[in-house]
Symmetry: C2
Subunit: 217 residues, 2 copies
Amino acid sequence: MSSFEVSGLNKVRRSDRGSYEREAIYAMLDEALVAHVGFVQDGRPVVMPMVYGRDRDRLYLHGAKAARFAKAMAPGVPVCVTVTLTDGIVIGRSAFHCSMNYRSAVIHGLAQLVTDSEEAESALAAVTDHLVPGRWAESRPMTEKELRSTAVLRVEIEAASMKSRSGAPIDEDEDYALPIWAGVIPLRQEAGLPEADDRVIAGVDIPASVSARRAAR
Amino acid sequence: MSSFEVSGLNKVRRSDRGSYEREAIYAMLDEALVAHVGFVQDGRPVVMPMVYGRDRDRLYLHGAKAARFAKAMAPGVPVCVTVTLTDGIVIGRSAFHCSMNYRSAVIHGLAQLVTDSEEAESALAAVTDHLVPGRWAESRPMTEKELRSTAVLRVEIEAASMKSRSGAPIDEDEDYALPIWAGVIPLRQEAGLPEADDRVIAGVDIPASVSARRAAR
């Protein structure tokens, strides 16, 4: 299994919780739905939630060409793309040992505006199929006008790391004698039954892609 | 209801989806569990998931004094604190109108290391009670040593905005005639049954705080 090189950019300080393994990081990127994308604008950090797609060692972001982030990122700026899955609330006997069970991946790279229309279209397919695998092929194809109004940004993954915590709280030895409850509240993102909009024409059923998405996460 | 002043920092470009109302933004901050905190380090953006607490117009973050973010933020640096709740996957008839239903709040401010020990302790209470309301009072009190090893950061909220999307996909008029399913997959974060750790002493039941947290979200 290949690993990302460890550098000042991605070094995890708590090494017991860190990983640099490409496969594990990519699996997390594929599982999560929304990333928090950070960039610097006028010297200040800006963090925005965004959907994304992955194609091998590239992440793709998109938005309206008029959007602030698209203008800010288009010239090729460093971005940090972070995805987090929250698995539980960890409740220790002391507040000091309260925490979260989670998995998070932090990706560093340069955002670049995609100018090649073939790459832009396959990037948008990756973003759509990340939301609902298989949906791109079922959708009405993108028009030229839609493609022209969309900014697609490529982030070549330059450095990446992952952190996670799982399991019970870890309390101080002497605290285990206290009459205080401790444990974990598990958290899970659940998908409900798909709700058709009012104008789906008669006889058109929920496609397999959408039913499958329900089960996935 | 009071609103945050609109400036270059917090202006929402899609005004139909934006809000600057303090009450709505604070309600969202109180509902979400994890924030994505962005800061600039060596000229590059870094985004980290963190738990947090709120006390009126202040957010509090915390971590080990040895942690990278604590060292980076302690001198008083601009941060962007973003929280996002994902409410659904929006599936249009075209990929162009696929989207998410979500609520997100973006907060800008300066992080400042809290040096007053009383403020630090009440900040840690806010963080703990944000995870599980009422838990601070039930926990074994913080020791001097624990307090000394913890970096607490105050973020005075300087600018804030909120964005949200809800409801069905909005397709192009002519696309409603297509035999393509469209609608929403609702998403919800569910809390499972609390799991006691193996060493809770006999007769100690799940406290009301933890049972209540289950229901909340």
